[in-house]
Symmetry: C2
Subunit: 427 residues, 2 copies
């Protein structure tokens, strides 16, 4: 059964989530399949950012720390985000960057392991985990006398050993779109006495996450991808309440103090998740992120993350099937798992030649996805064409258009034209 | 010789820096003497923040990382800031918070000491240093087997010992406005084999700083005080080139990698100061800070930091002399040193009673300074009325007005009115 453009338009017409698209600025002539790298701008963000600058900062000045609620933004945004990840109010703070938050929770986990189970001296992660996560882990393991052991994708049985302290995973792989079963892996780890840290960079706002339901230990993630918080938006951190008050994290700054305004000379960590704060936060960027979170929460009356997930799977299923129908014979292969339970909200393709140039040719046509190079050091030879589907603002006709352009780029060998193969820095 | 309002107006009229005030929004009816807590908004920031949101983010999307120069902002802003602190291009990055940057440089300093001089196991700071700096030092010393020794203000001879690894000081004290002689102290420390870390939170943009001239080792500071970068603006870090490439800092994230876009599995620090970066930065807040830095640099053709310093001293001299002339007999005492070489860009007063209520009464009249409580644990009993003078936008008539209101609040006992003594959280 072939799907037509008319079918796609009918799907958009029947999509109950379609009105959410109006909450965002999607540029004319652009099919944006890179929301897993930087989400689009919620329309409300422009006015909100202007308000923070011209009213709260310029007019309110120092008084706005209280009057405009700046000081409690990490917790207020955290409470909003908690609703999207199976966490409770008071369990999440929005602050700093993902890398810094990972440093905090991995430090706490290593302290905990050293105290509770000193024979556990190994941290396990996947070779294909997001590199910055591995960089942070390399440094912390070295400094604390732990060994970082990297395993092949999915070979997690190796982590369930009596010498392993922490299993640190990214829930949805940034390169392949493959998704782990958080609940099953966490349960297996817990059964083996292993703590779990989940990086939700490609999960929060993209797929349903149930941190308390999975009984995870720690989680961190990113505000500027599927949460549409703006470039470099602050990140987040969640710690299970059974741990949150137990250990200090090493970045013991005043925003994590039990009484930050006492300016007491001794550090005394706040109760619970607030001790994972450190220094003053960038308020204008925080305000933009709050607009992104509010736009996510606008989906709650329409079925929330479950409804978004159903649409995301419909979009990625459609993309896969259209690519296979319409681009057949061009050597394009699917990298992302076909099984729904193993797929995040992106589809990754590969081709033995030209992946970079094809992505560039698509961008020139207004279809923005991104390219990921081979990771030779990790034994991953595939070059990736990556397409993220954010169901809040991507529709079925968009998906058709993306494949139509891909087909034309391949049919006409457009990607072999001069210029498209010229590499420059990408993010 | 008494100074009159007319004298003050004449001083404003003759002030060659006066046109700089037009670069900033100073709210009607407000005399803002709290720029050492949160600087005012440069007029350019409103349009720039809007541009980042509605053009670079909303329309440029992921392409703006290159096209709009987002990725190089830490270095670009660092190069601008370097000019204000006696540093060279390529020696400063703007990133993260002051507390986090202090963590990075103190970690590097402790690593260096452990390697070069393992008998040096003490970190010295002042009891009255900014508390969050002490919190960071407490944690790092404990984790690394160092002892944190706190000395009384200025009793720094105690730091010049063969067992001391690091002397960590704030250049201008946040509570008293007293300024250290960076060059002399650094030279004495260097003579004793002690590394120096300077927190420039109340110095950068406020007083001339010559990091290379002083031959300091490390410096950090804040973007939202005298640099007018907006609420929670990112902070900065400088490391002397002789150290910058030598040690890794522990927050080894991808922005500090030698080749961040290779996504290589192993961490390899960038050359020089860029290795002090960690994760993705909040671009909208960074853009606002760049406006603050550009407004500072607009003073360069008018004499730059030296001219700003001369005006700052004239303003604080005037404030002190007017308070002593016009508020005599009300029990107000000067806390900030009278000597120019010992004074930052703020004046701190104290009174045996009512300091908090007096500040509140002044705020109700539109004269915004701030209050700092006694620090009993450190043996500091004085309650502080703190007034910051930012010569970029504060004038001589402003200074007259502030004292006039203070006089009226004291003459009429207005501060004893109900309400002014009711404390709430302040920053």
């Amino acid at each position: 059964m072939t799907t037509t453009l008319q079918d796609c338009r009918a799907m958009d017409a029947q999509d109950p989530l379609r009105p959410l698209r109006d909450l965002f600025v999607v540029p004319q002539g652009v099919t944006y399949l890179d929301g897993n790298s930087l989400g689009v701008m919620p329309k409300s963000a422009a006015a909100r950012v202007a308000q923070v600058a011209t009213e709260e900062w310029a007019q309110g000045l120092i008084r706005s720390w209280n009057a405009a609620g700046w000081f409690t933004m990490p917790q207020r945004l955290g409470d909003k985000l908690a609703q999207l990840m199976g966490a409770k109010a008071g369990e999440v703070v929005v602050t700093d960057s993902t890398s810094i938050n990972l440093y905090k929770v991995l430090s706490a986990a290593l302290t905990m392991a050293a105290q509770d189970a000193p024979h556990r001296t190994v941290v396990v992660s996947e070779r294909t985990n997001f590199p910055t996560d591995l960089y942070i882990a390399q440094g912390l393991c070295k400094a604390n006398g732990f060994t970082l052991e990297l395993v092949d994708d999915g070979a997690l049985d190796a982590a369930m050993r009596p010498d392993v302290a922490v299993l640190m995973l990214t829930h949805v792989n940034y390169r392949t779109g493959a998704m782990h079963d958080m609940k099953a892996i966490t349960a297996a780890a817990q059964g083996a006495g292993v703590l779990t840290i989940w990086d939700l960079a490609h999960s929060a706002g993209a797929v349903p996450v149930d941190l308390n339901g999975a009984d995870a230990d720690f989680a961190v993630g990113c505000g500027y991808k599927y949460l549409n918080g703006g470039p470099g938006a602050p990140a987040f951190v969640w710690v299970h309440p059974r741990h949150a008050g137990r250990f200090e994290q090493p970045l013991s700054g005043w925003w994590g103090h039990a009484a930050p305004f006492e300016f007491a000379p001794g550090y005394r960590p706040a109760e619970g998740i607030s001790r994972y704060l450190c220094g003053t936060q960038p308020i204008i960027s925080m305000a933009a992120l709050e607009c992104g979170l509010d736009a996510m929460l606008a989906a709650q009356p329409l079925g929330g993350m479950q409804a978004l997930r159903a649409k995301s799977l419909a979009l990625t299923d459609l993309f896969i099937s259209l690519v296979e129908q319409r681009c057949a014979g061009h050597g394009i292969e699917l990298v992302t798992p076909r099984g729904h339970a193993q797929r995040g909200s992106q589809v990754c393709l590969t081709r033995s030649e030209g992946a970079y140039a094809i992505v560039q040719a698509l961008i020139a046509r207004g279809v923005i996805g991104d390219y990921r190079a081979a990771d030779v050091a990790s034994g991953v030879q595939q070059e990736i064409l990556r397409f993220g589907f954010t169901p809040l603002y991507i529709g079925f006709e968009d998906t058709w258009n993306a494949v139509e352009h891909l087909k034309q780029v391949l049919d006409t060998h457009e990607w072999q034209r001069a210029g498209f193969n010229q590499k420059h820095a990408v993010t």
